[in-house]
Symmetry: C2
Subunit: 514 residues, 2 copies
């Protein structure tokens, strides 16, 4: 059927205990950030001095009560970073605001909007801090927030952290052309709760063609990327306190959504050929796990493929225990050789697999199109719940996705994408070998967007990250995926061809320095 | 500023006790429906007989494990309705499936997928029923499900239930033209977590122009319609057990999301000129309500406008108690006279109003574009949480919305929409007067999509609805909005001009018959 190609250097001394529950978040309180989220930037073509533009913007935000009395402003250093200006410019702006009495600085607690300006008493403003600390949503992991902050505010940084394709790998030409040439004539009203019917039809065909999956339109739900599929499953089919199993390491660890849903999470260590199906039975006996989340093809972050023999055993064990398997499959079409590994769903005769796919990693993340295949009773429940959240997806983006999938050029696009990713991976592998030699060990998957590297010396994750950021490169420390320290996920999808060696060189200098 | 124009016939004998908590859902278990959700329909142009197409479709669904062993099939009557075929056709199809052993009928429990076909033991299939009963999402109200079912499956029914514009009121020509003429060239990657920056910029201008609201791009969050704004607020800023106040009657009662979030709901009776601000203070003293949800302009369902004097008192009381107000404002631009009532947000100097708007009721619901204005700390928290749910909205639909708002034709569109809604309302009012006379009492709002009618005789809500459906018209019983029995919401936005008198006539016959 398909050849297993991943090579995995499994030299872990202490594989994590599969029965240790993960409590990454369990005791953590929501951390309040002294951060003004603003995508506003000064206009450099404006004649008005930049410090004055900053003053005006903050004054406006205060007068519109968008920065209520007592709100914390970001530190001078941080705001300068966010706006891409000199720190001295921000200092000048804050001085002006202090002079006017609009803001005040208190030693040790930074700069705040004045509590008494304009006679507004802060006791008239809701305690927004208390409100934003409430609710059931945990914030993103601090390391992930740090990475996002860096990549958002520094366009020059070499981004080996993002799991997104670089712009040139998107099917830009096809999408721009189809919008120009194919006349959108669809009804602009609420769509079917399961999603745009022609898109589900096209997916039935392409899931058959590329993944060997037989399905019907009525068993498909269109979602806002894989993210919404996972969100619907964790929110609607599981209850707080339920035990679930996920791979270790796993992308799912980076998702606060699992903890937000109050799930107890148990680990399935990933080996060279994927997880051990028998570990599922063991977890079931001990913890009555109710669901298993797997990414069998080019697993994120390790790049491994679950072997065919294990797939069969896995399905048999899951059927025997009547445990549903969630198969997250974002990468299978990136297979460099073009031979797409068969999905669990294609082998599932008992209706135990919930299959999740998406256009994000193979076409364009900004379209926000994903899908789920599930038994019809599950699809009914999830589409009903999704109506309560957002009333479904825009008809325009679904139409674009349908036209894209149906386009004759889509197959060419996938072909080019595979070729380009293969090339980028080769360059990264060569750079790592040349510049780091035996300081790192890694496998070389034959698809996907990531290299999973072990650093062959003891390192402090966050320190290495900060040192690397200083030198102009960013990546994701393995701890984000629940692994023990000393692992790193390097993505080769986002950086340009020339940036890859430069990024590895910067990383190499950072590693030397700590 | 603006003239208050709504006339309200307030002859309620027993205004609901504002301090009685609403427990519409509190003791209700999730109801399992014997329903195959399928948008599949037989192809009448196909030479294959329709019963055979149904057989093939169900066989396929069973063999793909999408209808696992033991799944309930819909009743013959129901499936016939769903597919728009004769009941005898479905009976023939089920007979064929029974003959092949694929399905079996058990007296009293309908038709099910065989438990033993193909040697698949049902004990190998997860107990999907148990899974779909779990989770934190309550299903939609049974009456709402009934209405949706009827409108989805019977294209000929006169729809005075939907709060959606009819197709001809959408800006179809503008949207089709801009997609053809304005070349989409945007980046296809992940968007800013707060939403597409040019759209937020356009909104800053149009909120100023139409609603008198001063705001900045950094205080705006783009959401999937108002629905997602409300969902984010209830999920992220409130915690289970929190008390909130909503209008009575209110659109919010129809939203299981409030109960799904575990909120305790208290009522603010709506009078001719809106709620009594002092009721908020009373509720706060007794129940420490943490948030107030209001729809001050052309309130759904009553059509009332909160008077200017009450707006001022409301803001003063809320500021005094430090309680945030959520201002849901989907209808203000529909004002027939063109004079848009000023929003609470425009009068809010303390930063206590969270403002929610959307394109759904003024342009096109299928674009799924809404927005929220909030203090920047709140926007930061909500956009962070939204990333966990769906990673934001599609860039394509946001681009269309931005181009639409920026288009010179948008103002014409709003003008035409107002004129058309005014005309439709007049026809409905005249029909009600002519055909029902003093059997109903209603106010005549000068904007919005709805008429709120009192039936001047004791009636059974569901019975009246079913009788009306039989006669070809559907509406929303007032109980869906938490009102006492005997009220009805008639929407004039969806039915065609000629359908309005026909729908009222059908309703009149139904009322006579019970």
């Amino acid at each position: 059927m398909f050849a297993f190609k991943a090579r995995f250097n499994s030299d872990r001394k202490n594989p994590p205990n599969p029965q240790r529950p993960c409590s990454l978040y369990l005791n953590r309180r929501y951390i309040i950030h002294k951060e003004v989220r603003t995508m506003w930037k000064p206009d450099r073509s404006d004649k008005k001095p930049i410090y004055q533009q900053i003053v005006d913007h903050i004054e406006r935000s205060i007068s519109y009560a968008e920065l209520p009395p007592g709100s914390a402003l970001p530190s001078e250093r941080k705001l300068a970073e966010q706006l891409g200006v000199n720190r001295s410019t921000v200092i000048q702006a804050y001085e002006e605001l202090r002079a006017s009495g609009l803001v005040e600085s208190v030693v040790g607690s930074g700069t705040r909007v004045s509590l008494t300006k304009w006679g507004i008493s802060p006791s008239h403003t809701p305690n927004w801090r208390q409100y934003t600390e409430g609710g059931t949503f945990l914030p993103n992991l601090p390391l992930m927030r740090r990475i996002r902050e860096v990549t958002q505010n520094d366009a020059s940084i070499i981004n080996m952290a993002s799991g997104e394709l670089s712009s040139d790998l998107f099917p830009n030409t096809i999408v721009h052309r189809l919008l120009r040439e194919q006349h959108f004539q669809e009804h602009l009203g609420y769509d079917d709760p399961q999603g745009y019917s022609p898109l589900r039809n096209s997916l039935v065909a392409s899931l058959k063609q590329y993944n060997g999956i037989d399905t019907t339109e009525s068993s498909l739900l269109i979602t806002s990327g894989s993210q919404q599929s996972l969100y619907l499953i964790t929110q609607c089919l599981l209850s707080p306190g339920d035990a679930v199993a996920i791979e270790d390491p796993s992308y799912c660890y980076s998702l606060p959504m699992f903890q937000s849903a109050g799930l107890r999470i148990f680990r399935l260590p990933v080996h060279q050929d994927g997880i051990e199906p028998e570990d599922i039975a063991a977890l079931y006996r001990q913890h009555r796990i109710r669901m298993v989340f797997l990414n069998p093809n080019y697993q994120n972050p390790t790049g491994t493929i679950l072997s065919e023999a294990k797939r069969k055993r896995l399905l048999a064990i899951a059927a025997d225990l009547r445990i549903p398997i969630v198969e997250d499959d974002p990468f299978s079409l990136t297979s460099f050789s073009g031979a797409v590994p068969p999905s669990l769903k294609a082998m599932d005769t008992d209706g135990i697999v919930l299959y999740i796919g998406s256009l994000s990693k193979i076409a364009a993340s900004g379209l926000r199109i994903g899908w789920m295949i599930a038994p019809q009773s599950v699809i009914g429940r999830l589409s009903d719940a999704r109506q309560q959240m957002d009333f479904g997806l825009s008809i325009v983006s679904q139409w674009v996705a349908e036209r894209l999938l149906a386009s004759e050029s889509f197959e060419d696009h996938i072909h080019q994408l595979r070729h380009a990713l293969d090339g980028k991976q080769r360059i990264m592998v060569q750079s790592l070998k040349d510049m780091l030699g035996d300081k790192v060990t890694f496998c070389q998957p034959q698809g996907g967007l990531n290299l999973w590297c072990k650093i062959n010396q003891p390192v402090d994750d966050s320190k290495l990250l900060e040192e690397s950021i200083k030198r102009g490169v960013v990546f994701v420390p393995g701890s984000v995926y629940g692994s023990e320290p000393g692992y790193i996920r390097f993505s080769y999808a986002k950086p340009g061809l020339n940036d890859i060696p430069a990024g590895v060189a910067a990383f190499s200098r950072a590693l030397e320095n700590i």
